[in-house]
């Protein structure tokens, strides 16, 4: 198990400050969704947590150590980030992509070891891609391709997995499939999953904790029951919403029904 913390961070893009005084901590394996309006800084926050963006002030701590002081490689063994819409050459196979996840464990000339093969096998099995591991990426559906990227991240054997809007461009079937996969990976591998989510109902259903970000500030941080409320969502998105109970049989959940832009 690994811990991740961001303390008093200022995040800036090209000299433009996006977020100030950010502090968050992730100390146990859980599924966390970061929600918030466009341009609120949620992707920037995820980048900072994943070491893709260095805070201009403050720092990110991985297992209590300042991440900037760790080697990139050491970070990569603990933490994996999947950016939105990553692209790979179409002639790569699923297995090739998964094998890339082993890079932090390999040196310039080392051969692929038994440990690498085992981790890749496990990642392919976990994502349900073992049977089609030799398929080319350009022959896959959007959902399969997203799972292939997830297989790469899992082959890295991270303790913390960061996903930036993993369900974008997927239809509802693949969205559900992917979210169920994320939940299963969290349970089976006992890892922390932190993801930026656009779909509030997926966020509420598949995560244990929600972080609401607006204008570069943390507006709310807590369990789904605490954050997924009419008051919070209305002021977060500046909309009018109603929280409803909905479901079918054993699948019962709270859903948010936004019915008007702006508050009535």
């Amino acid at each position: 198990m690994s811990t991740l913390e961001i303390r008093n961070a200022v995040l800036a893009y090209a000299g433009h400050v996006v977020a100030k005084e950010l502090s968050l901590s992730f100390v146990r394996p859980e599924v966390v969704s970061i929600i918030g309006p466009n341009g609120s800084g949620k992707s920037t926050l995820l980048k900072a947590l994943g070491r893709l963006l260095v805070p201009t002030q403050g720092a990110v701590y991985l297992n209590g150590q300042n991440m900037q002081k760790l080697s990139v490689n050491a970070t990569a063994k603990e933490l994996s980030v999947l950016p939105q819409s990553a692209q790979a050459p179409g002639d790569m196979t699923i297995r090739d992509l998964a094998m890339c996840g082993r890079m932090p464990y390999q040196s310039a000339l080392s051969a692929v070891g038994a440990e690498d093969a085992r981790a890749v096998e496990k990642a392919l099995k976990a994502t349900g891609l073992l049977q089609m591991q030799h398929r080319r990426l350009d022959k896959l559906s959007g959902g399969e391709r997203q799972r292939a990227w997830l297989a790469m991240a899992i082959a890295q054997e991270p303790k913390i997995l960061l996903l930036d809007e993993p369900t974008t461009y997927l239809d509802i079937h693949y969205q559900l499939e992917l979210m169920e996969l994320v939940r299963r990976l969290h349970k089976e591998l006992n890892i922390t999953v932190i993801m930026v989510m656009h779909d509030l109902n997926h966020a509420a259903r598949f995560s244990q904790r929600l972080i609401a970000v607006k204008n570069g500030k943390i507006m709310a941080d807590g369990s789904v029951a605490e954050v997924f409320t009419k008051e919070t969502l209305e002021s977060l998105y500046d909309v009018s919403v109603e929280i409803l109970d909905a479901g079918a049989g054993e699948f019962q959940q709270k859903v948010c029904f936004p019915y008007k832009a702006g508050k009535i």
Partner: protein, 337 residues
């Protein structure tokens, strides 16, 4: 059933890659031998073997040892270097149309060599050094122009284009001011191995050995960079450091090739591109295949260029363009269909 078919796929891919490398290597050896044998003076294989073993008093010793051997070696090394440089740049910049020209190598080498030949014709023997210096100076300039908290691919390409235009202007200015001396530079600018000797081999060899080794060791970095900066960084690759390293590496490879071969623009673009279509985009195979076929292409083209139209020797650069461009277009068209 599914397991069987995927294993078969893996087999075909490995077989294609293996046979491409093997055929390439064999063809390269054959072509190098042919390059030494072919020409106005007929020589036998036996004589070549004797000379390679150290015999020095055979009939055609001077021609073979001092003219053809270094020429073939220069061709092979420049070809491998240019193709590797192009291969690295295409991967690093994530742009299939990148070639060594894009980092200013061609423009810098061209201007420096031309300036030396026109302004101080008595120093013409120093042209390779001037070209190498010009190439490295241009790369440094492109680098500094493109640097802003790291090298961004698009900025790099724009800086390269701007610098090429600037240096091209310099070349035009030189050819206007020294119009009466321009004759001698034209051949060099067209690219070729006409005057290649052992001093040229000695010049390119160290860069080739180090460069080829370093390039072949960089396949994992390049594979990672191919997935985008953020993924590469998430995989534990220091993106900026890798870029700097790879730019320096391709500059040395291309610069040393241009210094002995003149402006051979096409190899660095077309060879990696064709190899990507045949062995795929995994740099573990793409790099060695590019090196082999780059060498093969230049040795073959040079031999053809100086024998087919005998006794006229066509500069290999011209030969390559007329041969390569249509083939390249054919490939693109086939691929787009």
């Amino acid at each position: 059933m599914a397991v069987f078919s995927t294993a078969a796929y893996e087999d075909t891919r490995a077989r294609v890659r293996g046979s491409v490398m093997l055929t390439g290597s064999l063809l390269l050896i054959l072509l190098m031998a042919a390059g030494i044998t072919a020409g106005t003076a007929e020589v036998s294989m036996q004589e070549i073997v004797d000379i390679a073993m150290g015999a020095i008093h055979t009939e055609n010793y001077t021609i073979i040892y001092h003219l053809r051997m270094p020429r073939v070696l220069c061709g092979a090394l420049s070809g491998a270097n240019l193709a590797l440089a192009g291969c690295i740049l295409q991967g690093m910049l994530r742009n299939p149309l990148a070639d060594p020209g894009i980092i200013g190598v061609t423009a810098g080498a061209g201007l420096a060599a031309m300036a030396l030949m026109l302004v101080a014709p008595e120093l013409t023997s120093l042209v390779p050094f001037a070209a190498f210096g010009g190439a490295l100076a241009a790369v440094t300039a492109v680098f500094l122009l493109a640097w802003d908290h790291g090298v961004h691919p698009l900025r790099m390409i724009l800086a390269g284009v701007a610098l090429a235009a600037f240096f091209g202007g310099g070349q035009t200015a030189l050819s206007v001011f020294y119009a009466e001396r321009i004759q001698g530079t034209v051949t060099w600018l067209a690219g070729g191995f006409g005057g290649a000797g052992w001093q040229h081999v000695r010049m390119i060899l160290p860069y080739s050995l180090v460069g080829i080794f370093a390039a072949l060791c960089s396949y994992r970095r390049l594979n990672a960079l191919q997935l985008g900066d953020e993924v590469a960084s998430s995989l534990g690759i220091d993106v900026q450091k890798s870029r700097v390293f790879l730019i320096i590496l391709s500059a040395l490879l291309a610069g040393s090739a241009v210094s002995v071969a003149g402006l051979l623009g096409f190899v660095g673009l077309i060879v990696p591109h064709i190899m990507r279509l045949t062995v795929g985009s995994d740099f573990e195979f793409l790099l060695p295949a590019s090196a082999i076929f780059g060498a093969l292409l230049l040795v073959g083209a040079d031999t053809a260029a100086r024998t087919i139209f005998n006794p006229i020797e066509v500069p290999v650069g011209i030969f390559l363009s007329f041969l390569g461009a249509p083939f390249f277009l054919y490939l693109l068209k086939r691929r787009l269909r």
